[in-house]
Symmetry: C3
Subunit: 317 residues, 3 copies
């Protein structure tokens, strides 16, 4: 919690109304009168007009759309201002000063570290050199292999299995940019949620959300060395094969299959029961129930036909 005046000062911005205590940042839609928010994406103009935020960082151009109950902080680059302020709300990570709550029926191997306020439920089995952050919730019968790292605030559902070296909840790769070309880190305040029966492969990495949650739904299985960007949402019973990479805010339906070394470009949707063949590169939203492949992406059946056409072309030329 910090005064709006303190935040404004840190961002080199000013405001005219009353000072108040700010809990944290929040998106326009979720913000309450105790939150500060920002407007930098014109697609969210309706959210701006109806936001309940106590204060909003905005460019002069859109100042007139800020609701009267919100303080206005004018900035040439609200996203950059938000990046600077996001650091002020960041907590010390992996804090261990307070105890965790471990069920009696939990197997805790040597050299396991569990952060303040975390909970591990009965039947879970945690192997050596695992590091679990603060305020993490580990459900029942969860199996965590050695040297896994789970960042603060993650929620791991019952019966999940996490293979060795996997990283759950690393900072998303998000920066605002100055005119000089410097990258200003956006501190991530969200978390990762694994629903029940999810499996994560060895040395895979799952970034946590900026706000809200990166979510892997029930029964989804992820192979080794897979990258899941911040704010992704993966539907139930999906399969993500080794070395696939999902850019931030990809949204997959249920029973989606992503082949080995396939990828998505982020901020797109893949429908239920879609399959992406190995190496397929998804750069825009696609409907479910079909098999895709290639880069640029096409139907896998087309990709095979096109390769045959190219082979004939190469023979003749």
């Amino acid at each position: 919690m910090m005064k709006l005046s303190f935040l404004a000062h840190a961002m080199h911005l000013s405001f005219e109304g009353d000072d108040f205590d700010v809990i944290s940042f929040a998106p326009l839609k979720e913000a309450t009168p105790s939150h500060i928010s920002f407007f930098s994406d014109k697609k969210l103009l309706e959210d701006l007009k109806t936001s309940k935020a106590g204060a909003i960082i905005v460019t002069p151009e859109f100042q007139s759309f800020v609701p009267s109950h919100s303080q206005i902080l004018l900035s040439e680059n609200p996203y950059l201002s938000m990046a600077y302020a996001s650091k002020l709300f960041a907590h010390k990570p992996f804090e261990t000063s307070m105890p965790a709550t471990i069920s009696q029926e939990v197997h805790l191997a040597p050299n396991v570290v569990i952060g303040s306020g975390s909970i591990v439920e009965e039947g879970s089995y945690i192997m050596p050199n695992v590091t679990i952050g603060a305020n993490v919730r580990i459900g029942k019968n969860v199996t965590i292999y050695p040297n896994v790292v789970i960042y603060d605030n993650a929620i791991i559902g019952d019966d999940c299995i996490i293979q060795a070296g996997a990283i759950i909840g690393s900072d998303g790769f998000g920066y605002a940019h100055t005119k000089m070309g410097e990258h200003i880190k956006i501190y991530h305040h969200g978390n990762v949620i694994l629903e029940e029966e999810v499996e994560i492969g060895a040395n895979s990495t799952i970034d946590r959300a900026v706000f809200g949650s990166t979510i892997i739904k029930k029964g989804t299985k992820i192979d080794n060395l897979v990258q899941i960007g911040h704010n992704c949402e993966i539907g139930a019973y999906s399969i993500i094969v080794a070395q696939a990479g999902l850019a931030g805010s990809s949204k997959l339906g249920r029973n989606v299959v992503m082949g080995g070394q396939s990828a998505t470009a982020g901020h797109l949707e893949i429908g239920d029961f879609a399959t992406i063949a190995a190496r397929g590169g998804v750069s825009k939203s696609i409907e479910g129930g079909k098999v895709y492949g290639g880069f640029p992406l096409t139907l896998q059946s087309e990709w095979l036909k096109n390769n045959a056409k190219l082979a004939r072309f190469f023979k003749k030329n």
Copy 2:
């Protein structure tokens, strides 16, 4: 060891003959009268007819091929039944209740954990925060960098070097599927064998076999962030460059070179002295002694010519 009747009950299957003590699952070919096996791949019909297994899970269609000395367990989906039962044979991993045998001439850094019954031979050098499972055998003069994880039952040959964060023996990515689209984990009972003078790069992952062994032969060198699937066999003196991925059951000959970010589709063979250029994607078996590239894969010399043809086509059109 458990009674066949107990197993059958767990799989919701029945059988008519005598009950007996089952040691574990095994493939049709390797099974003894104390093993249970399953038939789900029609290519293995000869193995079914000649199997010595004490019991075999089979569809009604193939029931008549089961040898008379084997009990028959009828299942609509033997692979799925096997998946359910595979969990029953799984041991608690990374068990440390019993001592390991460490040679006096071994360097053991702080925070190293070594599981029950494992052996580390003289001259080996194990760095901090390494986790070694149960019944692992580490040979002579092996160098293991920090935060490496070696799963149960692995065999690491003399003079191997394992760079930091590598994972040796993670569960293979294998599931049977229900009609509802759920994925039922196949518990892996095999291991990983690294022969002598193998080097594994930082944060690479090598899955262990379902049954039998994933094998990396003498003198093979593997770079960083490489994925080796379950049951792969890599010949001697091969070179696997960073971020390459080998799908399950790939079989490489000796002195094979796989370039950076190259990949195989699994269940295929690459002949001795073959080279796959960077990004090459191998989707079927190829003979040795040649240089390949592209995806779909072709001879690298063809790939270069084809790119030139395409460049001319783009100029004219």
Copy 3:
């Protein structure tokens, strides 16, 4: 330090002049009279003629170019001879027998191991199960997440952030080859330098240099599962997105962007402010200020046009 005669004996080579104490290997250009060097790349002939090395391994063909103040060691394969000898100069890694110097204002979590002679400056925050080697220098206000490994001699600048599981300074993937096809490891004696405000993503790997340094310059941000080869140099304020791979000795200018799963072939230069789209494969040097894509690489605008031309071709054929 060891006698030249000892080294020569280990390499099965002879020399005719006076014996002397050799400090270590060095490239021709940097070698002093207390160093041994080698000549195996004809492009470095000028370096050979002007080297100050106390001894030089050389083929008979180039013997006459060795300066008179240098001892001559004749070898059919100087690179291979150097590989054999490089092992003799290798120190025991991650040595902890001597104390490190930790500022009082440092947060050290449980299970952190820091090697002999390392320095951690004030304000740095080191989380559980981190392993730091010997003679490492960690600057001010550095944040190191759990299970990170930093190899010997690395230098981490002020305000760097290293996400969980990242490996800084792993051995480069370099081998000399015998006539029999064996790979003889070249022990790496260089280090990694991260300048200030660099961020490294989860489970990324950065190899240290053979000689000299792998350098990541000020303010550069690297995402998860990225591979940076030995002796790379990445300019200030660059952005390397997840699963990109830079082969050894790639040299990037400032504000270069490498998209997800992109790659370089090594020993090439990318100019300032160049952008490589996701999956772009850079196989030769390119100038700055442009956007590239595809594999083979072209201007991204061309790549898009070419894809449209191919789509028309596929429709007609």
